[in-house]
């Protein structure tokens, strides 16, 4: 599918087939979730030092569970078929997927030479509006604030037979110039027959 077609479907579904909610509710609610995880998940034998690796992992896990279900909604609304290659997948993720659910289109860039890994650069990120990371000297090194998005992609792509590694590599909240996520295709998952299936 051409990039322009992915964009057209994204626009169309966003306008006509998406139930919407005010962004600030999402921003506030997501911020509350992250801050409550930061309060709850502490390093062993401490009373207030957040285990940011655990927070990242939990956000990823929550996103994964969302992604597993969200892909159904995505397929139903967008009515797109299987992608022919990873380049097409990248375009559909950016211009259709992110458009439908978050009304943003991260820029696909930075393809690896083997064509198995690409970057998504977020010029806007509704999850992180008005957000500042805690000033504890560690969060800016360790917390990936929007990590739930990595989980969502991982879960959604797993349901369409793609095993991927998804991680943020930079975030403006940490003081980086860009917010960028890298998606790496590990393998296409083969359909396996259940054992003893006649």
């Amino acid at each position: 599918m051409a990039s322009s077609k992915a964009a057209r479907i994204g626009e169309d579904v966003w306008k006509s087939r998406t139930e919407k909610i005010n962004t600030e509710i999402v921003t506030l609610t997501y911020g509350t979730i992250v801050s409550s995880l930061c309060r709850d998940l502490l390093l062993p034998n401490t009373t207030s030092s957040t285990d940011y690796a655990a927070v990242n992992a939990e956000l990823d896990r929550m996103g994964y569970n969302i992604g597993l279900r969200l892909v159904e909604d995505f397929l139903a609304k967008s009515n797109t078929g299987a992608c022919q290659n990873l380049r097409e997948t990248a375009e559909v993720i950016s211009k259709t997927g992110f458009k439908i659910f978050l009304n943003i289109t991260p820029i696909v860039s930075g393809w690896s030479s083997d064509g198995k890994s690409f970057g998504l650069v977020f010029e806007e990120n509704p999850l992180a509006d008005f957000v500042e990371l805690p000033d504890d000297g560690r969060s800016q090194e360790e917390l990936w604030y929007s990590n739930i998005l990595c989980g969502v992609l991982r879960g959604a792509l797993e349901m369409v037979q793609m095993q991927v590694d998804v991680r943020f590599v930079s975030d403006v909240l940490r003081g980086n110039d860009t917010t960028e996520m890298r998606v790496t295709l590990l393998k296409y998952i083969e359909d396996e027959m259940p054992p003893d299936d006649e």
């Binding site: 005010n22 600030e24 506030l28 609610t29 978050l102």
Partner: protein, 168 residues
């Protein structure tokens, strides 16, 4: 405006955790409710601060409650509260006859009345966060209250607001 919105499928149910809430023991359920309610409180506080700025500040408790029913509720659930009752002594009951987070749950009718009871029990968890939102919004507007969400017949939800010093 469309630039200021994102997609939604409903309440706070996307992680899948609440659906298992009914299977939790009492202590765990209480801790879960406490946490969800406090998260709602924070969201409610933020929303009230953000969205009450361009309108006259409500001066009576009733006006404040009406702000919740007519302004805050549509932001969250795309509809107003359907019914507001008060005893004029500090207690308010808000009824939403088609509460969005409960609008698409279903029950296996063949499983009989017990299934319906179980469903109502399971639905309870979806009211905890919104109850916290109401409590937080009221607090931001200067009213201390306790808020109890309840459902006896899905998809109707009621929220009982007991302001500080209320008389039954």
């Amino acid at each position: 405006s469309t630039t200021n919105e994102v997609a939604t499928k409903g309440g706070v149910s996307s992680t899948g955790a609440p659906s298992t809430a009914a299977g939790l023991d009492d202590g765990t359920r209480e801790a879960l409710y406490f946490r969800l309610n406090n998260m709602g409180y924070r969201v409610g506080q933020g929303l009230a601060e953000r969205f009450s700025t361009n309108r006259p500040r409500p001066v009576t408790p009733l006006e404040t409650i009406k702000f919740i029913c007519k302004d805050l509720w549509p932001l969250l659930f795309r509809k107003q509260i359907d019914n507001l009752k008060t005893n004029h002594r500090g207690i308010f009951v808000l009824t939403d006859v088609r509460f969005q987070p409960l609008s698409r749950v279903s029950v296996d009718r063949r499983a009989g009345p017990r299934a319906a009871e179980e469903l109502v029990r399971r639905a309870q968890v979806y009211l905890v966060f919104p109850a916290g939102v109401i409590r937080g919004a009221l607090s931001a507007l200067g009213i201390e209250a306790t808020v109890q969400g309840e459902t006896t017949e899905i998809p109707t939800a009621t929220f009982q607001i007991k302001t500080k010093g209320a008389k039954a």
